[in-house]
Symmetry: C2
Subunit: 142 residues, 2 copies
DNA sequence: ACTAAAGCCTAGTAATGCAATAGGAAATAG
DNA sequence: CTATTTCCTATTGCATTACTAGGCTTTAGT
């Protein structure tokens, strides 16, 4: 599985926050309820996003989470790479595995490289704003 | 990780067999030595390929493995789907998970579907013969 | 027939990573 | 001062992956 629940949840949460941008800071409790995700598990995920400055978190009464940039400035690729650690389709291409000893002669390496590029290019081409449902995020009007 | 060692090894082995096609049946021992894979582990992988009729195995002296079709009739996609079980990038798209309860409203589902198609289409477009090193498989000449 | 070479089959195991939980400390608004 | 809310560190249960073990069956050659 290329993308685990952590990455999937992260993406859904980011879309959720984009849709409810106008409401200001949203507490974790609210997101968890809306998305049907355990509050405790969601804490982990949001902490990762905050540490990377993709979200701003604020504690205390009236606190909560908010996007740090406009939705069109987030790509799905960066969100997933952050939360998953890597989107490499095979271990051969994963950072610390500095290429196996056979990489010089490996006839399959190009397949993995092409696949890796395909995946990353596609996901880097999808921005958060394109995932926000039309006419949502405006529920504060009326 | 989309593709584990099982799938990676399987692909390398299939290429190996394509390259040594002319030599007739190749015993597991030989493949394992050439590819640097444990014989016992390789047994598992080859058994899977044989059961799916991608390879023919024959026991006894002079036995070994051989491709059942010409290399250009294998796609990387089918080899990997067989050995990995599935190439779905997320659990949401995996067979038995008959779509989560939120699939109707899920804003991210299209991303996963597009990604899934991208991956499978690419891998189904690569055939085994394109991975065989040029001028290999002809080592029996001279 | 016997033997060596090979594949086939069923388990088992160690290690890893995923998904989720637990409990409390620190900050903030009213 | 208190209720609310994020932040932080660990731990647990579970599933999967990667690999190993041991024995059975088939085949070719002598």
């Amino acid at each position: 599985m290329l993308v685990s629940t952590k990455g999937r949840y992260a993406l859904r949460v980011m879309v959720d926050l984009a849709e409810h941008q106008a409401a200001g800071r949203i507490p974790l409790k609210e997101i968890a309820a809306r998305q049907g995700i355990s509050e405790k598990y969601l804490e982990n995920i949001l902490a990762t996003l905050v540490r990377a400055n993709m979200l701003s978190g604020m504690r205390g009464k009236g606190g909560g989470y908010v996007l740090t940039r406009p939705p069109e400035q987030y790509t799905v690729g960066e969100i997933l790479r952050l939360t998953e650690g890597s989107l490499a389709p095979v271990a051969c291409l994963d950072g610390d595995c500095k290429g196996c000893s056979r990489s010089d002669e490996c006839p399959t390496l190009d397949v993995w490289k092409n696949l890796d590029k395909l995946i990353n290019d596609y996901l880097d081409g999808v921005t958060l704003d394109t995932l926000v449902a039309p006419n949502e995020g405006y529920d504060y009007v009326i």
